[in-house]
């Protein structure tokens, strides 16, 4: 137990340090970006620019601003978005994260379940038609960009068949179905490919042979005995993939008119919206390091072969 608390404490320290380094590097790099953070910069007079810089504190020395910014985020103040005329960045993030997180989680859940299922089926029918079909699906899913899938889904299910909304975020769960499907293609293909490879190995191991010798059905062998072991490596890729999907997709969100966070990061960089760049970077990084940490913990709990540092 003591070893665990020491391990967790050390990891938390490194996580905080990582975030500090990311935040600091981002702060100084974004200040090198050309231009001003004001959208109307092409017609502001020098006097107006001076007045705005004073109001927003951009007239202070860079290092002073850096210290002020760090102080403010420690107090939970992420500043204001100049792109959204003085809206607190916290408001922007809280309003936009919800739809992205929902779509990301749904996509990972749906994509992984279907992907794992297809992967197992492919492994059980190694080198047969179903295997070739699933592998083809996995390769296609990895190769075709999700915006192409999004447009095709929209065309088929919304325009031709009129079953689901074309876009907009106003019909509850129905509005989430097509974007979820579009986003789920990637985790689906990834899980399918991963599980197939792992299962092929697992299904040829001794304990599976023993299960077969005992007369168990192939389906039971695959799903009850094989899958448990094959799933472990998937956890490693699933974490970062979940974060990546939860933090939104610029293209898919635009295609389905979803009020997500996906576009904000790119848009904030292009418009020098300093505080939004910082907040989104810190948020994404925090989510990523937290998920990596949880994955490591989970990995050690479910796989007895992995032990925390110092264990025998």
């Amino acid at each position: 137990m003591k070893r665990w608390s020491k391990y967790i404490g050390k990891r938390l320290f490194y996580m905080a340090l990582t975030l500090l380094i990311i935040a600091s590097a981002t702060f100084f790099l974004m200040n090198v970006l050309p231009g001003t953070p004001y959208n109307n910069q092409d017609r502001l007079t020098a006097a107006q620019l001076e007045m705005l810089n004073k109001k927003y504190g951009f007239d202070q020395p860079l290092f002073q601003r850096y210290i002020n910014y760090l102080k403010n985020i420690l107090h939970g103040d992420f500043g204001i978005s100049l792109q959204f005329s003085d809206q607190p960045v916290a408001t922007l993030l809280s309003q936009r994260m919800g739809p992205s997180i929902q779509l990301g989680l749904q996509a990972v859940l749906f994509g992984t379940v279907v992907g794992v299922f297809l992967g197992v089926i492919a492994a059980m029918h190694q080198n047969k038609f179903l295997d070739v079909f699933c592998s083809l699906f996995a390769i296609t899913g990895r190769s075709v960009p999700n915006f192409v899938v999004a447009v095709l889904l929209q065309l088929l299910f919304a325009i031709t068949l009129n079953w689901l909304p074309i876009g907009l975020w106003n019909e509850g769960f129905r509005s989430t179905i097509l974007p979820t499907l579009a986003l789920s293609i990637s985790p689906m293909a990834e899980s399918c490919r991963f599980i197939r490879t792992e299962m092929v190995e697992v299904l040829s191991s001794d304990y599976i042979e023993l299960a077969r010798a005992k007369g168990m059905s192939e389906i039971r062998i695959a799903f009850s005995h094989g899958l448990r072991n094959a799933l472990i490596p998937l956890i490693t890729v699933l974490g970062p993939m979940t974060v990546s999907l939860m933090t939104g997709s610029l293209v898919v969100e635009n295609i389905f008119a979803v009020p997500g966070i996906g576009e904000q990061f790119t848009k904030s960089i292009l418009s020098n919206d300093y505080y939004t760049i910082m907040a989104v970077t810190i948020l994404f990084s925090a989510l990523l390091v937290a998920v990596i940490f949880l994955t490591d913990i989970l990995y050690q709990i479910i796989d007895p072969r992995v032990r925390v540092e110092g264990a025998k």
Binding site: L52, K55, F84, S85, Q95, I255
Partner: protein, 543 residues
């Protein structure tokens, strides 16, 4: 396999249960907007998106009609103007009320205008011009009370200008001149207009359901509006749709009553009654850096573009007709001069093109002759110029066209194309050290802003063109011409011709916006002037 097929059929049945049909509601308008709103504060508006968004709840002193003439709105009549043209006395309605039933007072308009120049508010608004002491107030050198706007009584307002301005009544149609109740705004403080709840307006509609960063919100009819009887819609729902395909699909499915159409899609709808094209005041120009800023802060003539013949070769060597029809699919009209058509009329009612003549055209022989002369003067066989454009679809298209057009028409001119983010392009231009840049200008009410871009002391004179003659003309336009419209128009014409004669800038095209609009929608007004293209306040569906 059978089970798999059965599963698919089952899934289809389940999804079918979800499908709904969209009920038509005659009193609800579903409208579009191309992006999120930068501000809902009428005193901070500086772009077309926010300009449209605030238009429905704002109640400015005047509204422009279809001919861009100002008509009384919150004001009961056109302003009384002093003999020297600098003092405007405006009487406002005594029956105007806010959405909570409180009466609108003249001091509320005064407060709104003060906010535009209050350094603590930090407005990027640049459409409120001419008011006395505005620059000193913005710089914090004078108190807000010294701004040239005051309430004489509850219903009378007086605005004092620094110099007479023949376009000022039109400028009073800007939403910046909408009343804001001081007590309410001060109570909300920094949070004023950051959400629908933190906003109190007196216009035909009330903003609803907007909490700051949404991509969908609505406007509901204001029961206290002084002209509520003539407002047809109970609700107007705005939806941000950025993807052009999705927007068109939503329109065709009847879920939106209007959408914008980019130049790529205009040919698909050409000839259909839904397609509406609206000319804008957005000029796209090929800008040249004629005097370059050096590291030591001095300016030196550009090694190539300071040569007038080279500039003229570029000026006459571009086929703008082809650019507008073939490249931009009709979403633009060839530039007629530095000043676009539609921004103003001559004293005898002629358009800019009619009055000034078309000064910009394609003349290959002249262009090649200018090039030959220019190269001889420079003593070289060829010149290489870097053209910087933004990385938007349209800019890339125009940039690529210019590169091929110039290189083909003007052998010896090599164009290096650089597509960069807008902020990078702008930073290069403001660094006054570039060759060519795809830039532009969108005016609002007064045509002077177009030649003013090249005035010697102006910060955004990217060319760094230095000219006493132009400075004199701009000064006359902004000062002594205020009460002599004929002299003003003549000086405007001279400024336009001066910039063309010297090829200081190469005007390319005047943008045309394409829209698909439900043919049943009537009574709306479209604008070239100001920040809002559509005035939907009195729109209705045909019975």
């Amino acid at each position: 396999m059978k089970r798999f097929a059965a599963g698919i059929v089952f899934l289809i049945l389940i999804l079918s249960l979800f499908s709904v049909s969209y009920a038509e509601d005659n009193k609800v308008l579903h409208w579009f907007i191309g992006g999120e709103i930068t501000t809902m504060d009428t005193t901070k508006v500086y772009d077309t998106l926010s300009g449209e968004a605030v238009f429905l709840f704002a109640d400015p002193l005047y509204r422009l009609d279809q001919n861009a003439d100002p008509q009384p709105n919150l004001a009961v009549a056109l302003p009384e103007i002093s003999e020297d043209g600098t003092v405007y006395t405006i009487t406002i309605r005594d029956d105007a009320k806010y959405a909570n039933g409180d009466p609108v007072k003249a001091e509320d308009v005064v407060y709104a205008v003060q906010r535009v120049f209050d350094p603590a508010v930090g407005s990027q608004n640049s459409s409120v011009t001419g008011i006395k002491n505005r620059l000193a107030v913005r710089a914090g050198e004078l108190p807000l009370e010294e701004l040239g706007v005051k309430a004489v009584s509850d219903t009378v307002l007086e605005i004092t200008l620094e110099a007479a301005d023949p376009y000022f009544t039109k400028k009073l149609a800007d939403t910046s001149y909408s009343p804001i109740p001081k007590a309410f705004a001060e109570e909300k403080g920094e949070g004023y207009a950051l959400s629908a709840d933190a906003l109190l307006s007196a216009g035909p509609f009330i903003l609803a359901g907007w909490t700051g960063t949404e991509i969908s919100w609505s406007y509901v009819k204001n029961p206290y509006y002084w002209d509520a009887d003539n407002v047809y819609f109970d609700e107007i729902i705005y939806q941000v749709v950025k993807d052009q395909n999705t927007a068109l699909n939503l329109y065709e499915a009847g879920q939106l009553d209007g959408v914008n159409v980019s130049s790529d899609f205009i040919p698909l709808y050409e000839g259909q009654p839904d397609l509406t094209k609206i000319s804008t005041l957005r000029m796209t120009n090929l800008e040249q850096n004629i005097n370059q800023l050096q590291g030591d802060g001095s300016y030196t003539p550009h090694p190539i573009l300071s040569n007038e013949n080279i500039r003229k070769a570029l000026f006459y060597g571009i086929d703008r007709e082809e650019l507008c029809t073939e490249v931009l699919n009709g979403a633009a009209a060839p530039a007629v001069g530095v000043i676009p058509n539609g921004i103003a009329s001559s004293p005898d009612g002629q358009s800019v093109a009619e009055s000034f003549g078309v000064q910009v055209y394609f003349d290959l022989d002249a262009a090649q002759a200018y090039l030959k002369k220019g190269l001889e003067e420079l003593g070289v066989d060829s010149v290489k110029l870097r053209l910087v454009t933004s990385d938007t679809d349209e800019s890339i298209k125009i940039g690529t066209y210019l590169q091929s057009e110039i290189q083909e028409n003007l052998p010896g001119v090599i164009i290096d194309l650089a597509n960069v983010p807008s902020s990078v392009r702008f930073a290069e231009m403001m660094g006054y050290h570039f060759d060519l840049a795809l830039g532009g200008w969108t005016g609002d009410y007064d045509p002077t802003s177009y030649p003013n871009q090249f005035e010697t002391s102006y910060e955004h004179n990217h060319a760094k063109w230095v000219s006493e003659e132009l400075t004199g003309l701009i000064s006359a336009l902004n000062n002594e011409d205020g009460n002599d419209f004929e002299a003003r128009w003549e000086h405007l014409k001279q400024a336009n011709h001066y910039l063309i004669d010297n090829a200081v800038v190469i005007p390319l095209e005047q943008a045309v916006n394409g829209y698909l609009i439900n043919p049943n929608l009537t009574g709306y007004i479209t604008h070239q002037l100001g920040y809002s293209v559509f005035d939907l306040s009195r729109a209705s569906f045909a019975e």
